[in-house]
Amino acid sequence: EFCDVISKDNMGGGSSIFTKQELDDYQELTYFTKKEIHHVYKRFKSLAPNPEAVTKATKLSRDELYALPEIKVNPFKDRIVRVFSSSGDDSMTFEDFLDMMSVFCDHAPLAIKIEYAFRIYDFDEDDSLGREDLRKLIDRLTGEMKLGESDMEQLIQAVIEESDLDNDDGLSFAEFEHKMTKNPEFVTSFRIRM
């Protein structure tokens, strides 16, 4: 499906693995410029065990993905990889990878970041951030120093009180979105730079 056609953009010579059509598509479907797309592809290639044999259809396994420095130490790396893996088995093709980096980049708008943040934080994938989700989230966030049980309970209770408008003991997407749009720091924190 792909072919070694010299792309017509001003990358300054060299053959490209994307056709012009593909580059245009990627450019319009993500928040990257053409140069950045090539950069992302380079990073993708570097993660593969055999960089030379990487094609657009190559899938990287979970462990290979975990080697990416930007997510290697992130406490949520398993959720990130799971959410963005289109086949649901924690492996990503280049297009999934591009999608992931595009959502995390500086130019992605708030709405799409919130959407994906919700999915990442929803550990049991039931479309709502329930108490168990919050508990797991707090565990990840406190790292080595665990919070005591009573502190944890109090924290979860406080969050539910603040944000749960319809009293279903969990945060739905609308409630989550309602809170996140009000905080301008969300955009600066929910970012990964390539």
Partner: protein, 749 residues
Amino acid sequence: MEFNEQSNLLRNGGDRPTTSYGGRAQTVRDAEEYSYDNSSFAVDYEGLSSSDLVESSRSRSKSILGERESASDILYRLRYSFLDPDLDSEHVISETQDCLTGQDKLRFKEDILEGIREVCLPMKQKLRIRRIITTDRVNRRRDQNSKKYISSKSRKNGSGFLHLWESSITKLTAYFGSTVASYFTFLRTLFFLNLVTGIILFSFIGVPQITTGEFLLDLDDKGKTFGHFGDLSYSMLFYGIYQDAVDGFSLPLSYFLTWIAVNLLTVLYLASSMYLRYRRSKLSDTGSDFPFTWSMFCYFDFTINTKAGVKDHLKAFCTDLKEKIREEKSLEVVAWLKKLQIYFLRLVSNVIVLGLLGGSGYLIYYVAQQEPDERDVDFNENLKELAKEIYERYRLAAVVAILKLVVPSIFKLLVKMESYQPRTELKFTLARTTFFHYASLIVFITSLTKKADCIDGQEPQITSTPSSVPSNHSTNNSTSCATNQCWENIVGEEIFKLILVDLGVCIAVGILFDVLIAVFVRTRTCCCKMDYSEFVVTSNVLDLVYGQGLVWLGLYFSPLMALVAVVKLFIVFYFRYFVARFANIPPKKMFRASRSGSFYLFLLLITWILCFIPVVYILIEKTPSVDCGPFAKKDRAYKVIDFLDSLDDLPSWLSWVKDALDYIATAIVIIPVIVVLILLVLYYRVKSSSYNALIQELRRQLVFERKIERKKVFAKALSVPALGSLGKTTGSAVTGEMSRKTSAVTFTA
């Protein structure tokens, strides 16, 4: 609204438009609208397969509406397609596309294309949809669109220069996180601001002066020896050299106007960036911050990607969470004796703070009044004499800089005595330190300009030593004081000295505290448990703002001060960068008092106002010095703008312009204008507070509505006998569906 079709799923064929929220509370009580017919319910959930449900919904919605779905409907369904795994998006889209023709078709395609980027779908699916849309587009449209996208992308590419130091900042972010990086980004903004200011001033003032060929003031004819920097004093760096000696170009006019223009540009830039940032963040209603929710979801910094950085960040996070929980707990009743003690301590510390402020103000004033001993620095003399001379010259700058170092630390200690919550502590210290900085700046500048009073015929300055003070050589024999001292130059030099000393102190403190401690910790020399020093963002930002304030103060007296600031910022950047990389750790407390960049800009704006006003006052009140500088012969500096005189030459039919200007400048017009402006401000405040009240009301309504609706749904769902055996799964399916779809209702409300 597009959710009409979706929420119709759960109604029994009612094709009434759904009411939008925000107004008609009686719809809640309108039971008929929310009646869920049992029979249709059973039909919907009979097979319990979502595809059936969607099939029936799709056909139902289509038949209800009798029209095809629009682009936004399709996008909406795509967005929630994970609830609906059998949705064949391509089929739907190509079907709809085929039904449309001409302009409608084009618009449909555009809408889908624009919206598809924002939908959460896997890339493969997005690509497929895009292929469907773009296969048979009209060529003309396609070129137009691609141009639009390409041009928007290329705009981003061209900003390479504005991303100076980007790689260094990224390296720092990987360990320290976004807060520390925001300090460096702020530094970079200041760098560019000063660069632009400096270039404008240089090209309009410096270049004409260069064309006259005079770089240094000619000393011989008058024998003046003002200035502490030797040749630098008489160079283009300071006010003194600029003269009205350029042919065909009025340098005084240009000097004055460029200075005003640069200030206006600065304030325009600051105000507009603040405005843009403010707009981007939706303001939360007053007093409803969500500390816990935000801590959980927003504050974890994804940009940190080193192991040590994440560890420190999580530690700080945990401390922050614990603190917040303690805060909640500590709203307990305190014994009144203890309360009395606390209030007494607070009173004492406030008195001490005021005393410190007053004392340092007086000290600065006193030192400024001392006439410095103006001998030339002769490096052949012995060290003691040398030190004394340097002390004499740099006395004022040293005093200001040392006060700036000592007093905020005292404030930090004092505030611990007051037993506030940690975040209130931070706010108090910040406020006091800022106030101290501004006060010291203002006292500094006003006491310096007392020297200018000499010219107005007031009492002469008493010189402390009978050394080679320049005697009165000029022809001006009305006063006996040293009128030959070019007072603008002196003020400019003092400010320049202060900037240098400030830089020196910053570097010295950095080396002494951060680097030395780091060396101790690394080599484990000291046996006590020491850790690296933290990168304190607050005080560093305040330092930057203070330095910028100094530059703005000095811009009138020394046009190239901005370029000096550029060099200084360059040095500071690299110094702080290397200290941060090798000797600092991320702050243990999460500094969230700022709303990111807009807080820093706000500080900068306040500083600008506080620095602009004294200089304007000086311009209005003081006479420029008689024999140096571009305004040498004028009574007041602003008189150089004499277009009011030139207005006399206007033709008679424009004479009303002159009359109008005359009238406008009087108090009769200005006072009503001020009153009207105040009224406008009040009006907007009232409007915004009434909006806040409306928001609160809507929230209450929302919560109420959700409660009522849930109760109804549960009652209906669990009372249907046919679903009794399927019990739990039905229930969750209902609530699952409900949670997304009805929350979608609130979402679009």
